[in-house]
Structure formats: C-alpha cells, structure tokens
C-alpha cells in the first residue's frame, strides 16, 4: 500500500470580489512507505495548499487523497501521522509538557509511554528548560521545536511537515536534518515542503517540484544529479610539466579521450560538471513561468 496517494487534486480559491485563485491543478503523486519526499516550490506555489488538503483542513475542488489507503476526509487517516503546520500555533495556555500529554492522549498512548516519550522529545529538541512554561511565552523558534516534538511524540509512520526548517537557527536546522536522517534509517515516510534546495539535496530520496499549482517534475535526487551532468572538466599534463584544464561537453568525452591517447598528454583528473538541484529548480521555475504566461 502506498503511504500517500494523490490523484487529480485541484483547488480553486474563491477570494473576495469573486477573485479566483487556481492554487492547484490536477496533482498526481504517490509516495511509497519509507520514502523521504521533498516538495519543492517557490512561495505561493501551492505546497501548503496540498498539505492542508492532505490534512483535511480544506476541501479539494476535485480529486482525492489517501493516507495509507484511508481517504483524508476521514479523521482516522491521521492516526499514524504526525503533522507540523506552517508557522504552527498550539493551545498557548498550556505548558509544553501539558500540550505533549494532550497530544499523547489524542493518539491513545499509554500514560507511561507519554511520560517517557515526552522526556525523550523534549530532550531531543532541547526544550527541557522551557517545558514547564506556558507556550504563550515561547519564541517563534521554540514553538517550531515544540511542533517537531509533538510530531515525533507518538512515533508515527508518516510525517507531513510544512517547511520544518522555517524559523529555526542553524543549530535547529542541523538538528532537523539529523532527525530526518534518523527517520529515514528507521524506514519512516516523510513528506515535507520547502523552498530551500540544499535541504532537498542532502536528505531526500525523491523530489517534486511544484510551480503555480502544477507539478513540474518528480524524480529521484540521485538521477537528477546524474542527468544534470553537462560536461567534464579535464586536467591535462603536457610534457610532464605544464598543467592545463579543458572543458569537454558530455557527448564529446569519448572522442576527446580517444584523441588524447594518440598524443603524449596525460589525464590527471576528470571531474563531472553538473547542474545542482538549485540550477535544476531554477530552470524549471523559469520554464513554469513561461508556460504560465503562455
């Protein structure tokens, strides 16, 4: 069974004065269990819209979405799920400890487990010091950490995180990357949105790029990096003295090397020169905008 199954998802917002915003058009996406999926897109692309539909917070104009086979309109679909909203906000009259206990009960955890897990996640996110203070007095970064803590509390199988790194300091960002790697090693499914390409490059198995509500590309990070090779920088040593660098296009590599073998030039090093995810992303965004204008 797929961890996430999205078919033909559309969303049109009807704003004030009958202004229509087409936030999503016919999105198809499936995510297998154990996958770390990065949902990449510029601001206003429709990432949060997709995630809110997955959480049943807004109704799609068309299409369906299922989590582990359960339609998202059914609240039971969230039983094995941890959700971190974008710029989260929690019942702020409670302390972090009280809130985590509340979340634990909401997932029908055992009392003793709640206690143990609360201590674990508070320590993991370095919130022990503030655990008995009301959430009202937290800073933005602390609330983001609490958001991650409540996601991890009941050790769900799928994680849906809307911009998990936003509002965090560099230490926090590193921590989140560690956490995601750990989840990956334990075979959990993660679907997270971001607009920062480097996040995706390091952690993700697959990446989807969404622009203006259209899913432009879905691919494995590895194969993007592979296919992104544009050519090679070759370092040559002539007469065992002079070193020079030449750029050889991808298609010409073979002939270049065979040409070389005739001469007395030696190859010291061949380095592939490739587009990184950022370049890939920017190209797609540019193309997407072009399509949108057309």
């Amino acid at each position: 069974m797929n961890a996430l199954e999205i078919t033909g998802l559309c969303k049109t917002y009807r704003g004030k004065r009958q202004k229509i915003v087409k936030a999503l058009s016919s999105l198809d996406l499936t995510i297998a269990p154990g996958e770390i999926f990065g949902f990449l897109g510029p601001n206003g692309a429709g990432k949060s819209t997709t995630i809110k539909i997955l959480m049943g917070l807004i109704q799609p104009t068309g299409g369906t979405a299922k989590i582990f086979g359960t339609p998202v309109i059914n609240s039971a679909s969230r039983q094995r799920l941890g959700y971190l909203p974008e710029n989260p906000s929690f019942l702020d009259f409670m302390t972090a400890r009280e809130y985590l206990a509340f979340v634990g009960r909401a997932f029908s955890m055992h009392k003793s487990d709640v206690k143990k897990e609360t201590d674990r996640v508070l320590e993991l996110l370095a919130l022990e010091g503030a655990a008995n203070r009301a959430i009202r007095h937290y800073s933005k970064g602390m609330i983001q950490r609490l958001g991650l803590a409540q996601v991890l509390l009941h050790d769900p199988d799928i994680y849906i995180l809307d911009e998990p790194m936003s509002g965090l300091d560099p230490i926090g960002r590193a921590l989140v990357k560690d956490i995601l790697r750990d989840l990956k090693s334990r075979g959990k499914t993660v679907f997270f949105s971001t607009h920062i390409t480097s996040d995706v490059e390091i952690i993700c198995d697959r990446v989807g790029i969404i622009v203006n509500g259209n899913l432009m590309a879905v691919d494995h990070v590895q194969s993007i990096l592979q296919s992104g090779i544009e050519g090679y920088v070759i370092q040559l040593v002539r007469d065992k003295m002079v070193t020079e660098e030449v750029f050889v296009e991808k298609e010409r590599l073979k002939s270049f090397i065979s040409d070389l073998s005739a001469s007395d030039v030696e190859i010291e090093r061949i380095e592939p020169k490739r587009k990184d995810i950022e370049k890939f992303f920017l190209d797609i965004v540019a193309k997407g905008e072009y399509v949108a204008v057309e």
């Binding site: 917070l57 807004i58 609240s75 969230r78 906000s89 019942l91 009259f93 409670m94 009960r105 909401a106």
Partner: protein, 267 residues
C-alpha cells in the same frame, strides 16, 4: 470517546485559565457575601428578596459566561490557528465542535453548582433574620437554578453556532445577545398578538411573527423564578416539556454548528 474527553478537558482548562472568566466569577462570589445585608433593604420581603438576589446573580453570571465563552469559541480557534494543530490530530470536526460546546456547558454546570451551593446558605441566613409567612421551598429554588443553567447552556449553543460561521467576535456576541432578548420576549409577543392587539395585524405579519416565534429559542420557558420566590407549586409537567425542548433545540444547534464548521476552510 477518549478523544472527546481529552478535548473537552483541554477546553475546560482553557476557560478556567481565562482571566475574564475568573474576574466575573470572583465578583459573583463576593456578591453572595453581600446578599444577607442587601436583603434587609426590603423590610417585609427579606426572604423573597434574598431568593431573588441569589437567582439573579446566578443568572447574570451564567449569561456573561455563556455569551462570552460561546461567542469567542470556534472562530477564535480558527483565527489563532489552533484548529490546524488540533485537527492534525486524529480528531474529527464534529468531535471538535461538540467538545468545544461541552467545555462551555461543563463550565456553566460547575458555576451553577458552585454558586448554587453558596446561594442556599445565603438564603437561609437572610431568611432567618426576618422570617416570612411563605416557607422556603428549597426544591423550587434548586429547580429554578437548574432550569436557569439549562437556559444558558442553550444560549451558549446559540453563541457557538454563530461563532462557527463568523470570523470575528462581534457577530456571535451581539447576535447571541439579540437572540437572548428576542427569545426571552417571544412568548409575550405571541400572546400579545393572539389577543385583541393582534386583530389589527395583517395575516402576513402574523405569519411572520409566528414563524419567528417557532424559530427562536424560547427562553422564557426556563424561568421558574416566580415559583421559587413565592413558593408556588413546582410545575413538573412544564419542566419536563422544557427539558425535552432544551435537548432537542440544543442538538439541532449542535448539528448546524458541526455542519457549518465542516464546510469551513481552515488556515
């Protein structure tokens, strides 16, 4: 069910930590201390006045709590984006709304019990100062207080429903206050127009008034204060009808609230 109780207790705790609620409660409690001295105002009707003062204080507190809490419930959770984090848990929207209502209802019941428990000694102390020829009918007083509680639970359901369709405090607040006054007067108006005064009205106007009468919650039915103050026989049949009416009307309002909240887009 466990989820419901969990949410209910969170809502209840949130009200208990609400400063405005606590301030109102403390003022009401202080007022009870003054009842025995206040009731000396009336030389001949010390006991009646004590009963009235207690019942009115309870009513006023319940009115404030039900309207303020009901009117600031659902829309505020949406605006503060609590709904996004709470509904990300395995919680259905119906459970969310009903638990919200139940939190307010439990608060109202607790306030009633607390103030009721204080009202009884306040009344007996006042009555002992100047014995009346009407004996105190404790059951009537308790019945009147209980009915009052039901009345304000119904009012909080009205406010909650308005707050599920609203995006600000003003509509549910003024809406429920207006419905409260209209619902308290509707019985008198209908009796007014069913008599001589109604003959000058056109049939269309009468029909409209009748429709409004059946649509509005009838709050005057919950008023058993006269029976409590004068020790008239307790209207058991009427109380039973009123109770059934309360159950059905409140459930309808909850149904509508769930329906309107389910359709709502959350941030």
């Amino acid at each position: 069910m466990a989820t419901f109780v969990n949410l209910l207790s969170a809502n209840f705790r949130s009200i208990l930590r609400d400063r405005i609620f606590l301030a109102i409660l403390i003022v009401a409690l202080l007022f009870f201390l003054l009842v025995p001295s206040f009731s000396l105002f009336s030389m001949r009707q010390v006991q009646e006045l004590a009963v009235t003062l207690c019942l009115s204080t309870i009513s006023l507190l319940l009115l404030l709590v039900s309207v303020l809490q009901g009117a600031s419930s659902v829309w505020r959770d949406v605006e503060k984006r609590y709904t996004s984090s709470l509904l990300g848990l395995p919680v259905s929207r119906a459970t969310f709304v009903v638990a919200k209502f139940a939190g307010i209802a439990v608060t109202l019941v607790c306030c009633t019990m607390l103030l009721g428990a204080l009202a009884l000694p306040a009344i007996s102390i006042s009555a002992a100062q100047y014995p009346s020829d009407i004996p105190i009918h404790w059951m009537n007083i308790i019945g009147a207080i209980g009915m009052d509680c039901l009345k304000y639970i119904l009012l909080s359901a009205v406010a909650l429903f308005l707050s599920t369709v609203s995006t600000s405090f003003f509509f549910p607040f003024f809406g429920s206050v207006a419905i409260f006054f209209a619902g308290s007067a509707s019985q008198e108006v209908i009796e007014y127009i069913s008599g001589d005064y109604g003959k000058s009205l056109t049939p269309a106007a009468k029909l409209v008034i009748n429709i409004v009468y059946y649509l509005l919650p009838n709050f005057s039915a919950f008023n058993l204060k006269v029976a409590a103050i004068y020790g008239l026989p307790f209207p058991f049949k009427g109380a039973l009808y009123t109770f059934l009416y309360f159950i059905v009307y409140t459930s309808i309002l909850l149904c509508l609230s769930v329906w309107s909240f389910t359709r709502r887009e959350l941030p």
